[in-house]
């Protein structure tokens, strides 16, 4: 039982981080209609900034720089590239982001080399144990940070003008612009938010038990795609729930791999996608997605 609870705790904390990444996908998608294939390299950029700066300027200032840097990167990608597409549609935008991903990842790989850059987080390698259930302290902190970030997001979207404007723009951009809401600005805000969330997730993913920042960190953003799809493409809540589901399912699949051996080795990698496909079979628009309205 404690074993189960340990895996559950692991899964939930990991799921919350996945949620942070998935929310970034949702926000970029709803505010500018872009499937952000470069989300992973933005995440890596944020984490990389923290890793190289924590020594000279201290961890917390470095985190601030990392978050701002990733946010700025997002804004620039949107302003310089996405908004200047010759043929703006989701398909070309997605491929554009692949191009961006190639550029960012190549350059970061070159800079990082074969080092693993420590993130320099003050929480060390401790583990919390409550009644036999163990969880790395950093993971508990990560879960806490994620919950706080989600609360802030909720406040932003429900209580502030900017947030309401973003939701309005996502729901009906055409009408929102008639309210004086500049779609270019909500788009920029969306990219900035997504970048900031990615940087936070990057720092959390690079801290213990992970060793630090390495180029493979960028791939971890892909793990959030099933969470995003499963939650419904345009739902922030869905992304968080999706993250939790994927996190828990993955942790359990790994934890009970021995018992599930009939299904083949390496189950942890395929299970998130299997869950995603099953959910889509039952609910094609995901758990929390708006059903596409059929209008004539």
């Amino acid at each position: 039982m404690t074993y189960f609870l340990t895996q559950l705790a692991n899964g939930l904390s990991y799921g919350l981080i996945l949620g942070l990444i998935a929310v970034g996908f949702v926000i970029v998608f709803t505010s500018t209609g872009v499937l952000n294939f470069a989300h992973g390299s933005v995440l890596l950029t944020g984490a990389y900034l923290v890793a190289i700066l924590h020594d000279p300027i201290g961890f917390w200032p470095a985190v601030v720089v990392g978050i701002l840097g990733a946010a700025l990167l997002g804004v620039l990608i949107n302003a310089v590239l996405v908004r200047n597409l010759a043929e703006p549609n989701p398909g070309t935008a997605a491929i554009l982001m692949l191009g961006v991903d190639i550029l960012l990842l190549t350059e970061l790989t070159r800079r990082i080399g074969n080092r693993v850059l420590p993130i320099g987080a003050p929480w060390g390698a401790d583990v919390i144990a409550i009644g036999g259930v163990t969880l790395p302290t950093s993971r508990a902190i990560a879960a806490g940070v994620a919950v706080v970030v989600f609360a802030l997001l909720w406040y932003l979207f429900a209580r502030t003008d900017t947030g309401v404007a973003m939701r309005a723009a996502a729901a009906d951009g055409d009408t929102a612009s008639l309210m004086g809401i500049r779609l270019s600005r909500t788009g920029a805000t969306g990219w900035a938010l997504a970048g900031a969330l990615a940087a936070i997730a990057g720092v959390l993913l690079a801290s213990f038990p992970a060793p630090g920042v390495a180029p493979t960190l960028a791939i971890s953003a892909f793990a959030a795609i099933p969470a995003w799809v499963l939650g419904g493409f345009d739902s922030v809540v869905g992304a968080i729930v999706g993250g939790l589901i994927i996190g828990v399912v993955t942790a359990l699949a790994v934890g009970y791999e021995a018992e599930l051996h009939v299904l083949g080795r390496g189950l942890g990698e395929v299970v998130p996608y299997a869950v995603m496909i099953i959910v889509l079979l039952v609910r094609p628009s995901g758990l929390f997605g708006r059903k596409e309205a059929v209008r004539v």
């Binding site: 939701r167 309005a168 729901a171 055409d174 009408t175 004086g180 004539v296």
Partner: protein, 527 residues
Amino acid sequence: MPDPLLLVEDLAVAYDGAVQALRGVALRVDPGSVVAVLGSNGAGKTTLLRAISRSLGDVGGSVTAGRISFAGQDLARRDASWAVRAGLVQVPEGRRIFRDLTVEENLRAGGYTVRDARARREATDRVLDLFPILAERSHQRGGLLSGGQQQMLAMGRALMASPKLLLLDEPSLGLAPQLVEQIGDIIEQIHAQGTSVLLIEQNAAMGLRVADRAYVLEVGAVTAEGASAELAGTDDIRNRYLGVSTTSPTRTTHEDAPVDVPVHLQRTSGARAERLRVEDVTVRFGGITALSGVSFTIEPGTIHALIGPNGAGKSTCINVLGGAYRATSGTVHYGDAEVTALPSHRIADLGVARTFQNISLSLEATVEDNLLVGRHRVMRTGASAQTLRLPHARKEERTERTAVRRIASLLGIEQLLGRAVHTLSYGDRKRVEMGRALAAEPTLLLLDEPVAGMTHGESQVMADVIRAAQQELGLSILLVEHDMPFVMGLAEQITVLDFGKRIAEGPPDHVQRDPEVLRAYLGSAAA
């Protein structure tokens, strides 16, 4: 004369660089006045508003000539956000409230441009004062409000920016009579508070009631203007909305003259028109009842029209018949088959074809290919035979191309067969849409506003085409249209809808004199 608040001079607008939606439009709104722009569907009313509120770009339109100035400022290089900040706020057609946001959040989005907290509080108070119901529903999601409440929310949302000029796009669309009255009162109140209003209306009764001055827009050009009281009395308006007089001075023979050479359409099968019975059909969407207990019958081989003011439920009715919408209750039978139980493509298999109000052709494909899509149902060879271009598939393809050419020549678009649809004018697109439906060899043809946005000459040609097709193919036709001369000259039987209910039925001359119909169109005064 005071300096105008809004001045539109010689405005021309085109979509996708090809479709001319407005030309030479001039219009002025003086401070403190209410101005109405009347016109039927496709006349370019919404385009005009979008040009003023700087939101044309979102839908692929652009101003090709003329200028618009607001409070002395040229709007040419301004965006929608600037316009709102300058005090020019639009309430879009169909309300377009944010359904997933609460009432409060909707208002908040409306007040987005107001940075001053006190000004915003005052605006909120003013709006809640005007619409007390919104205060009660403050925490409900917008999508849960009734139609009238949604309209109020949409107007309240716009008023949050404390506009100098409020642009209202068809505020009465789809609302019950007492609500329309109420909206009218509210507009007057808004006006009394010092806000000028530019009102776009299809409901002439409503528009003429609240406006000081009105313009009539027709096929992208202003055809009449004047003080509301004067316009309301003219025969022109009566004619345009009720088609009482069948001779119109603007009517001329179109250059594409009706087809003299008889073009013969042939059926590939022996299908025959059946009786269509609509029984007690009700359709609800969220809080709105779009159709309520509507029944009528279309006899085989007749032309039946469905008319009524905008929002009366005509399109909803056609969408139920075509299978795009589900009826909440009631049944529709075509012959022995129950249409209401079938998906769209099965209804099509029964021999029911339709056109769409908002043309839905494949824009990048050629006219010929679009027409061939209509033949989908008729063609028989399998996909693999076509892919391998086996002889019989090629033969069928040739036959079908000939058939399509025949339909094109009936519609006078034969020379356009090789052109991509997005290069065509609006009127030609309408014809292609009609051709695609005819290509399906229907026994029942549902036409949703086939001549909206066409000139009288063009619509006359269309009438000839419809009549010819009906005779050649022995079709039943259900027609939804606002162009009354067109309807009155074509239909054998007319059903009139208002606010989702059937209010009259009968032959044209009977319907034209029905007091209920007059009231619905022109308001109680006219009746």
